[in-house]
């Protein structure tokens, strides 16, 4: 079975501090991994996907197959980063996303 675990339901950091949102997964094959974000009063939207290895809004995420992790990082948090973040996995060849419980990130001024 596939599972995504986000161990922190809430995370609060100060503006300018580094941010790391943790994501661990369990899946026996080669997954596709994503981070989705939901800003206040907005829709759930894609932030980044590991396959494209891009940096969006200063965020990066590295897939660590040995530790089965896909942590989201940003070196200097900004107030507009406050949002709900979901890590998600797509099993190989499947047409679905398996989401974690989400982490609510709050950036304090």
């Amino acid at each position: 079975a596939q599972r995504v675990t986000q161990p922190e339901k809430l995370l609060s950091v100060f503006k300018g501090a580094p941010v790391e949102l943790k994501c661990n997964y369990s899946y026996s094959g080669s997954p596709e991994l994503f981070w989705y974000v939901q800003y206040s009063r907005q829709r759930l939207q894609l932030l980044l996907r590991h396959i494209s290895r891009e940096s969006i809004k200063g965020f990066t995420a590295d897939l660590n197959k040995g530790e089965t992790s896909f942590h989201l990082k940003k070196p200097f948090a900004q107030e507009e980063d406050s949002a709900m973040y979901y890590c998600a996995l797509s099993p190989q060849g499947a047409q679905k996303l398996v989401f974690g419980q989400g982490t609510r990130l709050t950036i304090n001024p």
């Binding site: 995504v4 596709e32 829709r43 759930l44 939207q45 894609l46 996907r49 396959i51 979901y86 998600a88 797509s90 060849g93 499947a94 047409q95 679905k96 996303l97 398996v98 989401f99 974690g100 419980q101 989400g102």
Partner: protein
């Protein structure tokens, strides 16, 4: 383009009733997926339709059904509602059938079962 649109936005039903939720994908998108999001949890996959055919089904009882129309819009139907069906139901559309591309979500239909 307004993006993915869902209706109704809110509705209240009683146990045992039936509900139909509707979704219009972004123009040009042929795939529609449905997710259930219970308060405090991440979205959970229910169905995916691509070119009017069911391509994936999550671990939900047969009370849940869906279909996709020739214009690619979709309906999610839930029969014999239970209190536990209270949730936000999200629709997402995409160009292709695989989720390696981006999913575009609607704002959701919030269902309350009393």
């Amino acid at each position: 383009d307004a993006g993915v649109t869902q209706s109704p936005t809110h509705l209240i039903k009683t146990r045992g009733q039936h509900v139909t939720l509707r979704c219009s994908p972004i123009s040009g998108h042929k795939s529609v997926s449905w997710y259930q999001q219970v308060l405090g949890q991440g979205p959970q996959f229910i169905f995916q339709y691509y070119e009017k055919e069911e391509r994936g089904r999550g671990n939900f009882p047969d009370r849940f059904s869906a279909r996709q129309f020739p214009n690619y819009s979709s309906e999610l139907n839930v029969n014999a509602l239970l209190l536990g069906d209270s949730a936000l139901y999200l629709c997402a559309s995409s160009l292709g059938s695989l989720v390696t591309g981006e999913l575009f979500f609607g704002e959701g239909s919030r269902l309350t079962v009393l």
